[in-house]
Amino acid sequence: MSRIWETPGGIYPPANKRQSLSLPIDYPQLPERLVVPLDQHAGRPCRACVEVGQQVLKGELIGVVDGALGAAVHAPSSGTVTAIEPRPAGRLSGRPARCIEIATDGLERWTRRPCVADYRQMSAPQLVDRIAQSGIAGMGGGGFPTAAKLTPNGLPPIATIIVNATECEPYVTADESLMRERACEIIQGIDILAHIHGNRARLVIGIEQSKPEALAALRAACAKSAMEIVEIPRKYPSGGERQLIYALTGKELPSGDIPANIGVICINVATVYAIKRAVIDGEPLISRVVTVTGGACATQRNYQALIGTPIKHLLRHSGVNNNRLNQLIMGGSISGFKLPSDEVPVVKTSYCILAPDIDEFAPAPPERACIRCGRCAEVCPASLLPQQLLWHAKAANHQQLEEHNLVDCIECSACNYVCPSHIPLVDYYRAGKVHIDAARQVKSNAAQARQRFEFRQLRLARLEREQSQRRAARRSAAVPSNAPRAPVARLSSADIIAAAQNRAASKQPTVEQTLDKLQRNISTLQNRLELAEQRLVAASDDPLNKQNSLRAAVEGARQKLQRAEQRLTEQAHG
């Protein structure tokens, strides 16, 4: 049994997971329209590579990575592209995202799937490329492109691969049901990861103690391998990347670092499953398991939903009673956020759709003043000072926010949960982060503009200088008419004649040159004569005067040729 390090902070909210675990994963009906956002990952949004009206096959590439970081987007089903435009998206910022809408044809025709018989024959770069082509991005909510995570440049080799199977958020059971039903495929995915890293890394699956069935399934599936399955005591948020790394390895990730800096990769269990599907079955990431739960649903369960499925389609499947619906939440009850409408689609990072009953959630009471009780600091898993952060966020004091390491806040909302004054602290932190990012962007834009401006000034100055130099050079080269001429040396007439003869002699060509020149001349004239004769033959039907002029041309050419040949013989003999 591996040692477990205890992470700071944390809360113990009611889990409410049983409701959605009583039924197996279901495959909902194919929706009529799929809305696939081009922006489902960290990095720049993808660029659409299809056009409106185009037919697409299931699994066909429809959005290509634009920039250094990104995850490709594929058509979740076959059909016709009907629109490429901004649509409401299930994003925290509430801003619409550019989406490709596909009207499905119900035929589910697949594009070619590059299946691999034995991935062990493939090299690590080939496998990573396969994962990149499949558009896999962190499915635990982060959306970080997995291929980029697996190939950290210039960092120490990976010593530990951690599979994050904690799923500590209340209500969410997507990963748990996946582990219960598809443990073997998850283990295969982990084997692929191990193979990519040369089978040298320690493999650890971190799972919460509260999932005995999933644990048993995983244990049974990996009985023969060297994987460690570590049970972590139930606590929210035990599944934060930094928290899990610390709990399993005792290593604390320095602020601002990525896990690869300390030789660790932490990857969500659903992502591992997607890797298996991509490498062994050749399927790009076009569907995911999503929990649809909450008291307003008649059936609470997990769905294997296509990416782009409008959530109202899933809600209809679950028999949501709109009269009892409190609100729609993307994510779990602690760190989830309200959805603007039920039109938003399922994306690669949506693990849960929560439709609570009216009585189920206490409505958020009005916010009161902070009483400095300090409970938020006790539960903060990142050991930050939430009160200070709140203070500075309200004052928009960016410098202080950065000094208090706002960047390390994982937005788990544990502080919100315990706050007796019902302050939505994390909302303030998120706004602060956005402001800091915006200020940084403005700064970098200004630096770029300054550089371009200064470069332009330098260029204009250089052009000016060069022009004035050219003018000066021309001025000095041109001799003014009234300027005194340079004195000419007086020469005797004999000297002048001698100089002229010398010049002529130096210009005299050699015999070979002359002969050569005459030869060339003759061949040219021969060509010309031939051409003239041909023209004359061709013009036999033409009027007489034209024939005459052509005949004259032939004659002229013949005479020239004769003269040239004569000169050649003279030269050769003389």
Partner: protein, 205 residues
């Protein structure tokens, strides 16, 4: 009588401290006058606070020239793109009283716009290219010109020289341009609007 020595000690100490203060301030003053590099550094600091739109609304041909003018004592309230925030920052840097924006030089516009060329109307005269202070317009004689939106500072200087009036100043889209930052700020209001959803406080059956 016993208090007298204490009082004199107090006085002499104060005199010594006062002397030290005077000497130090004299030294600092000398250094200030002796090292003109200090002016250069100040110009760089001032230039850092200016928005680098290079629009010339302040009456100088760019932000750096205005920074030099401020270092030489010109008023700090002539930069409309920077607005009140820049004036306040300049005032804090220079240790002077903050002023309101001088309306003679323009008004503050919170919405950032960038230039777009209506490309089928462009006749390829290159006049806008010559006007752009940051080389953000590409094109050649008698060929269409276009604005590199990511590099456009929204200075407006290309609009007036265009002989066919085919340049529009449009608010930045959500997808790019120097306005990325401003649209991010807009998103903040949404974040606050998407308040925390509330909490399930009990375990359900």
């Amino acid at each position: 009588m016993g208090e007298l020595p204490a009082a004199s000690a107090y006085l002499s100490t104060s005199a010594v401290l006062l002397g030290l203060t005077l000497i130090c301030s004299a030294l600092i003053g000398c250094a200030w006058a002796r090292f003109p590099a200090d002016r250069d550094r100040r110009i760089v600091d001032i230039d850092d606070l200016l928005p680098q739109t290079q629009c010339g609304q302040c009456g100088h041909p760019g932000c750096r020239p205005y920074a030099e003018a401020i270092a030489d004592g010109q008023p700090i309230n002539r930069c409309p793109p920077g607005g009140q925030a820049t004036i306040d920052a300049l005032a804090q840097l220079l240790g002077v009283e903050s002023l309101a924006l001088d309306p003679e030089h323009g008004t503050e516009n919170p919405e950032i716009s960038v230039a777009y060329i209506r490309e089928d109307e462009c006749i390829g005269c290159t006049k806008c290219i010559q006007a752009c202070p940051v080389d953000a317009i590409v094109g050649a004689t008698k060929l269409m010109h276009t604005v590199i939106i990511d590099q456009c500072t929204g200075c407006d200087l290309c609009v007036e020289p265009c002989p066919v009036d085919c340049i529009d100043m449009l608010p930045v889209s959500i997808n790019g341009g120097q306005g990325v930052a401003s649209s991010a700020l807009l998103a903040t209001s949404n974040i606050i609007a998407h308040r925390h959803p509330g909490q399930a406080l009990r375990e359900l059956p």
